[in-house]
């Protein structure tokens, strides 16, 4: 039943993992992304945050920021949740499940950043939250157009040449992932990454890049 078309750009299917009607598939491409997400999720579990040193401009003074254990626990929880959602998004074989995992990544990313009590970071997190919310419309809209036009959300069906997915659905999926993965904020709101907690903040970057890589595979294969 689960045999990916051999022309799939992610390479030959290695094996599938069934959880009821949720089916994950591992190709060389998805496996590589999965392993990378796993490494950084493990790092978020075992790492302690850094103690940031800040320079007081206009003099020689500098000061070390204190690590708040409560903040660290919350950020770690969110980073692990983000890692698990990313793991799911990397190997899922269903477009709707992919969008669900992508939106979960968006929510947890807000959580990681918004936990930090700094005015600039909180402002950036608030604006990111708005974009992430808006991005759910094209994200789920893209999946809805896929199912409405083809009658299926299964990648095994969609990746065959027999099924034509409208270009607008693909564009919506990419747009949605860009919003959830905070890609536009990399340039426009880079201060979002100044928050303390390197292993957890890094998870924001990891998840968004991996989501982008996965959606690229999905839209090219469809």
């Amino acid at each position: 039943m689960f045999n990916l078309p051999t022309t799939n750009i992610g390479g030959q299917e290695l094996f599938v993992l069934e959880f009821g009607d949720i089916v994950a598939y591992f190709s060389p491409y998805t496996t590589a992304l999965f392993v990378f997400a796993l490494i950084f999720t493990a790092l978020a579990i075992v790492s302690r945050p850094e103690k940031q040193m800040d320079i007081a401009f206009g003099g020689d003074a500098y000061y070390a920021k204190v690590v708040d254990p409560e903040l660290m626990r919350f950020q770690r929880f969110m980073a692990i949740a983000c890692g698990l959602a990313t793991l799911g998004a990397m190997v899922t074989g269903d477009v709707f499940n992919f969008t669900l995992f992508a939106s979960l990544v968006g929510i947890t990313n807000i959580g990681i950043v918004a936990a930090y009590r700094n005015r600039h970071v909180l402002n950036a997190a608030f604006q990111y939250g708005i974009v992430a919310m808006l991005a759910t419309v094209p994200l789920f809209g893209g999946a809805a157009i896929v199912v409405a036009s083809t009658g299926t959300l299964s990648m095994w069906e969609l990746f065959t040449g027999a099924v034509a997915v409208p270009l607008i659905a693909k564009a919506f999926l990419v747009l949605g992932v860009m919003g959830e993965g905070m890609a536009p904020f990399y340039v426009a709101k880079a201060e979002i990454t100044r928050a303390q907690g390197a292993p957890f903040i890094l998870m924001v970057h990891v998840s968004s890049l991996l989501l982008f890589l996965r959606v690229a595979e999905i839209v090219i294969s469809m």
Partner: protein, 281 residues
């Protein structure tokens, strides 16, 4: 594979040395000997090593292994004719290494480097456009298929010159001392690498040497075609020297200017893709 990995590391470090030498000669300085980067790596391997007290210790060390791991993987993908998309993925994941390297130390200079690495995420856009153009021409993202296509139809350097130019910009973005090297600019000491010294720096040098080798080899393989190793190395050296000239005569751009240039190049390539799509039906 291990011997090829060592060979690629050695050549990559030698290329870094040649890069420094060419820049110096263009700028009228004597410059270091071309094996300087190999000596640097050996020197760092035996220097005293510790982890800064302020660092996120596990992450501080892990990024070094991730850097070596992903570029070793990229070399394997290239040699085995694997997926170009996977190579693109490695390039993107390198951004995480740069970011993690800077953030994990706790140093303000490392942090500034990390933030600049986030800003310079625009350097991935020309690569994505390049991948799209190659796919339009060859109908495949397998490096083996792309190489086979060129043996029949001729090099993509001629057929898809704008894509080759964009890929050239991608490699330039990753070169040391170049106009896009904002993450390791001297106004922020060594940027995200400031706190990595001793054996950690040696590990990073190895990872970056592999990166240079892989990117130059990928350029030759994707736009000229499969060649005997000696000839491929010669072409890689020529590409490197041309990059060194650009680095020598171009001042470092401001962070947002790098984004503007990379976005403009991507925009031009998108127009090229649309025109190509119309022409090719």
């Amino acid at each position: 594979m291990i011997e090829y990995l060592l060979f690629a590391t050695f050549i990559g470090l030698l290329f870094h040395g040649i890069h420094r030498k060419v820049i110096a000669r263009v700028q009228g300085r004597p410059g270091p000997p071309i094996w300087q980067e190999i000596l640097h790596t050996l020197k760092f391997s035996f220097k005293e090593t510790w982890i800064p007290k302020t660092a996120s210790q596990t992450l501080f060390v892990a990024v070094v292994f991730v850097a070596i791991g992903i570029w070793s993987g990229a070399l394997f993908i290239l040699l085995s004719g694997g997926s170009l998309l996977l190579l693109f993925a490695v390039y993107l994941l390198h951004k995480i290494v740069e970011h993690g390297m800077g953030l994990s130390s706790g140093s303000p200079y490392g942090k500034f480097g990390a933030i600049r690495s986030v800003i310079s995420a625009a350097s991935e856009l020309p690569l994505l456009a390049t991948v799209a153009v190659i796919y339009l021409f060859t109908g495949s993202l397998s490096i083996a298929d792309i190489a086979a296509y060129q043996q029949v139809h001729g090099p993509l350097l001629i057929l898809a010159f704008p894509a080759a130019a964009a890929m050239y910009l991608v490699i330039l973005s990753k070169m040391h001392y170049g106009p896009f090297s904002i993450i390791e600019a001297k106004e922020i000491v060594s940027g995200n690498m400031t706190e990595h010294f001793g054996v950690w720096r040696a590990g990073l040098e190895v990872g970056f040497a592999l990166k240079t080798y892989v990117l130059l080899y990928a350029f030759v393989l994707l736009f000229i075609g499969p060649l005997p190793l000696g000839l491929a190395l010669l072409l890689m050296l020529l590409v490197l020297i041309s990059l060194s000239f650009v680095c020598a005569v171009t001042p470092m751009l401001s962070p947002y200017d790098t984004v503007t240039i990379q976005s403009l190049v991507t925009g031009a390539l998108v127009i090229y893709i649309i025109v190509l799509g119309v022409v090719m039906g």
